[in-house]
């Protein structure tokens, strides 16, 4: 309850108190949690001193779950209930998964996102991811000895809106306050750039277990500006394993394997891949369920040959990203390698050849993303304000609307710096038309059917008029997490109608609550306690933020009565905090937010003016 120990009014609450914040790399194969301790970003280990948490969850009939190494150890024996690489299913429907038939899972198609049937019931990828995040949260809170203020969760830069929203939902479900969704290559660039005082154009080549990203960044004077990003959110180390697996089947003349045997050979394939990083050849041996023996020799040459097309699949997005940035390979000063899969020698060679230089491998490719995320989390939690930097990131894929004939009208082009908003006007095509359906899509293709459908909604109540007379303004807003919200408004004859949508795959607050309720450890009373706790933390955060602001600007930007109103709001919130009613705390939080709105606006104006004044002064001096 440390957050609720309130300081005297006027004194900002313990400004140097270190707020506990972490960076989480929620990976396809492995996940990590890191934090900044004594100014250094460090990965937090489990009780056995292991930094990685395999992103594997096993569900039991009695409702208990195993996460990490124990689950991984059982994946061959219990393939239906042991979920690996769940990141590949985030925000994806069944039709998005071309190799769904090859896996041991029993998929349940459901609107928006596929689900998995297990002995513990049907699980959504969001719930499985939340189970992984919960273990990392517990690890962090144990190691740091307190409750987390928040977390930065990393996502592949090429994740679309559905995948991002699913990730954020998983974090909420795990009880984490998401400070920011941060793109993995950008997180790596922060860790690398700050370490090496890098300046100039850098490429981050990030090949993980299941995703590939390429980001081109310009680093200068503390600004990390993403110029362009590209990738493939379904390409990673898993695919290299799969190529070896297919090679084994072909060489050993195997077909129609049982799920257990398939899982075993996939595991052997992964081990062979890892061994080939340091050895010129490896033996692949396995005894299948029926007693059949597999014994093969795989050389690095063969491995490179059977995976050549995969390597090339990473170079095409790399070329596109460079072209979008308006650059040539020789303009790139350094290529930072990220993700365990970049250890493969054929990847190192191909990237080196493409950019005409040795790739940079001086940071551990497994850890660099988590370390960068932790550094950013530390800043976002408000722990440091001295040496500041700025991240200017972009959206990876264009956002648009369906127009007549199933065509896409792009509203926000890819590689736009976020946050970004854009409005587009549309009109009716029939006389007396009173409703219009709005279909939001994401992707680069011209046909709606080739893009990802994000949301569909109807704008009703358009006053009847002749075709083409109505003016419907659709506004897209993408926030700093890369998440989209859309609103539409008809503005004519003084009549306005507007609606705000959340993309259809996202979970509503009700669904999150239901999921929390169904997870075994959350009985009704726990729910109440949790809601109260959340509101108390939120209230503490708000009071702290406003008091800090009052300390800085309260005397200059507010007159006596305005000041009194805010002080009154804070006092009232403190008052309801004495009680146990989370609803009344929530109401008062909203009220205080409202009361302090004008003050917030004035502070923002002041900062902007200060930014420009500083600039002008500099110019006078020169």
């Amino acid at each position: 309850m440390a957050l609720l120990q309130i300081a005297e009014p006027g004194m900002s609450a313990a400004p140097h108190q270190h707020r506990l914040a972490v960076g989480i790399d929620l990976g396809t194969t492995n996940s990590l949690v890191a934090t900044v301790r004594s100014g250094l970003s460090v990965v937090l280990h489990d009780e056995n001193g292991r930094p990685l948490l395999p992103s594997v969850v096993r569900y039991h009939g009695d409702g208990s779950t195993d996460v990490g190494y124990p689950a991984q150890a059982m994946q061959s024996r219990d393939p239906h209930n042991t979920i690996v690489s769940v990141k590949r299913f985030m925000g994806r429907g069944l039709r998005d998964l071309p190799d769904a038939g090859n896996t041991a899972y029993q998929f349940v198609d459901s609107p928006g996102m596929v689900q998995l049937k297990t002995v513990a019931g049907v699980k959504s990828p969001v719930e499985v991811s939340a189970d992984i995040l919960r273990v990392l949260r517990d690890r962090a809170e144990t190691a740091l000895g307190g409750e987390l203020v928040g977390a930065v969760i990393t996502v592949p830069a090429y994740f679309d809106d559905a995948q991002r929203q699913a990730t954020k939902d998983a974090a909420r479900l795990a009880g984490l306050n998401v400070l920011r969704l941060l793109n993995e290559p950008t997180a790596a660039a922060v860790a690398y750039g700050l370490d090496n005082a890098a300046e100039g154009v850098y490429a981050v080549y990030d090949l993980g277990g299941g995703t590939f990203d390429i980001s081109i960044l310009r680093l200068s004077k503390g600004v990390f500006e993403v110029l362009a990003t590209n990738g493939d959110s379904a390409l990673g180390g898993d695919d290299f394993d799969h190529r070896i697996y297919c090679w084994i089947l072909e060489q050993a003349k195997l077909s129609a394997l049982k799920p257990q045997d398939a899982r075993l050979l996939l595991t052997r394939a992964r081990e062979a891949k890892e061994d080939l990083t340091t050895h010129p050849e490896v033996r692949v041996t396995a005894v299948l369920g029926a007693g059949q023996l597999v014994d093969l020799l795989l050389t690095t040459e063969t491995f490179a040959e059977i995976t050549r097309s995969l390597v090339n699949k990473t170079l095409a997005p790399t070329k596109k990203a460079l072209r979008d940035a308006g650059l040539e390979p020789e303009d790139v000063k350094g290529v930072v390698m990220v993700g365990g899969s970049t250890r493969m020698p054929q990847i190192q060679r191909a990237v080196g050849k493409f950019f005409g230089q040795e790739p940079l491998n001086n940071l551990d490719p497994d850890r660099v993303v988590a370390l960068g995320a932790a550094i950013q989390a530390n800043v976002l939690a408000g722990n440091r304000s001295d040496d500041e930097w700025l991240l200017l990131d972009v959206i990876p894929l264009s956002l648009g609307l369906e127009t007549m004939g199933g065509l896409v009208e792009k509203v926000i082009p890819r590689n736009s710096t976020i946050p970004v908003a854009r409005a587009q006007e549309f009109t009716t095509y029939k006389d007396g038309q009173t409703a219009m359906s709005i279909h939001v899509v994401q992707g680069e293709r011209e046909l709606v059917s080739d893009c990802r459908s994000l949301a569909k909604f109807e704008l009703r109540g358009i006053p009847p008029m002749v075709a083409g007379a109505a003016r419907i303004r659709v506004t897209f807003q993408v926030d700093a997490d890369g998440l989209l919200s859309v609103s539409a408004r008809e503005k004519n004859c003084g009549v306005e109608a507007s609606v705000v949508v959340k993309p259809s795959y996202g979970l509503t607050d009700d669904e999150i609550t239901r999921m929390l309720r169904t997870s075994q450890e959350n009985a009704q009373s726990d729910m109440e306690a949790r809601a109260l706790r959340e509101q108390q933390v939120e209230a503490g955060r708000l009071i702290e933020a406003i008091e800090a602001a009052l300390g800085e600007d309260g005397d200059t930007l507010l007159n006596a009565s305005e000041r009194a109103e805010i002080d009154g709001g804070i006092a009232e919130l403190r008052n309801v905090l004495q009680g146990q009613n989370h609803m009344s705390i929530k109401d008062q939080i909203e009220k205080l937010n409202h009361i302090s709105g004008t003050f917030a606006a004035r502070r923002m104006d002041k900062s902007v003016k200060r930014a420009l004044t500083g600039h002008k002064l500099e110019e006078l001096e020169t």
Binding site: G382, L390, A480, R541, A545, N593, A600, M604, V608, H615
Partner: protein
């Protein structure tokens, strides 16, 4: 907060076609350093919302002013000249003829798989665009001839399309 403030005012620079790109970028960065949502992740809801709006506005302003064509359009808009690019497609016959020649040349080079040919066309186009931009600067900053400037902007838009076409052709041949 004044969202009606124009983009030049936002960055504290004089409204003109000729801008110092380094100064523009510095002003953009100075403002983002103050308003970016990363600076307000732990602040109140009200401040977070404002920060997103401000940062969005700063991005929009910078993207508009950074591109020569965007800057020209915006200056015309400030001077009450709307381009109506979707509906107003009237161009001089001479310009249209030239456009057709360009298109033919690009089409032929593409069909022949002539990468050096396309690159040559690209360089030639770049030079023409630069000359047009020079003219635009004169018209907007010196002559204040906004009507003529609007015509040049419309022509430049066509030329940008040609540039895209060449890039697409090169991309297609690359793959």
């Amino acid at each position: 907060m004044d969202f009606n403030q124009n983009f030049f005012e936002l960055f504290g620079i004089a409204p003109a076609y000729r801008v110092d790109p380094i100064r523009l970028e510095q002003a953009f960065r100075d403002i983002q350093a103050q308003v970016h949502p990363d600076k307000f992740a732990h602040a109140s809801d009200a401040e977070r919302r404002l920060s997103m709006q401000w940062a969005t506005q700063a991005n929009e302003a910078y993207q508009t002013l950074k591109q020569p064509l965007g800057r020209a359009r915006y200056l015309l808009h400030l001077n009450g000249v709307e381009l109506h690019e979707e509906t107003n497609t009237a161009m001089s016959p001479a310009f249209l003829m030239q456009q057709m020649e360009w298109r033919e040349a690009i089409g032929e080079a593409k069909a022949a798989g002539d990468v050096p040919g396309l690159e040559h066309l690209s360089a030639k186009l770049r030079a023409e665009i630069a000359a047009q931009q020079q003219q635009l600067a004169e018209l907007l900053d010196n002559d204040k001839n906004f009507q003529r400037a609007a015509e040049v902007v419309r022509e430049l838009k066509f030329m940008e399309k040609l540039r895209e076409e060449i890039n697409h052709a090169l991309e297609a041949l690359d793959a």
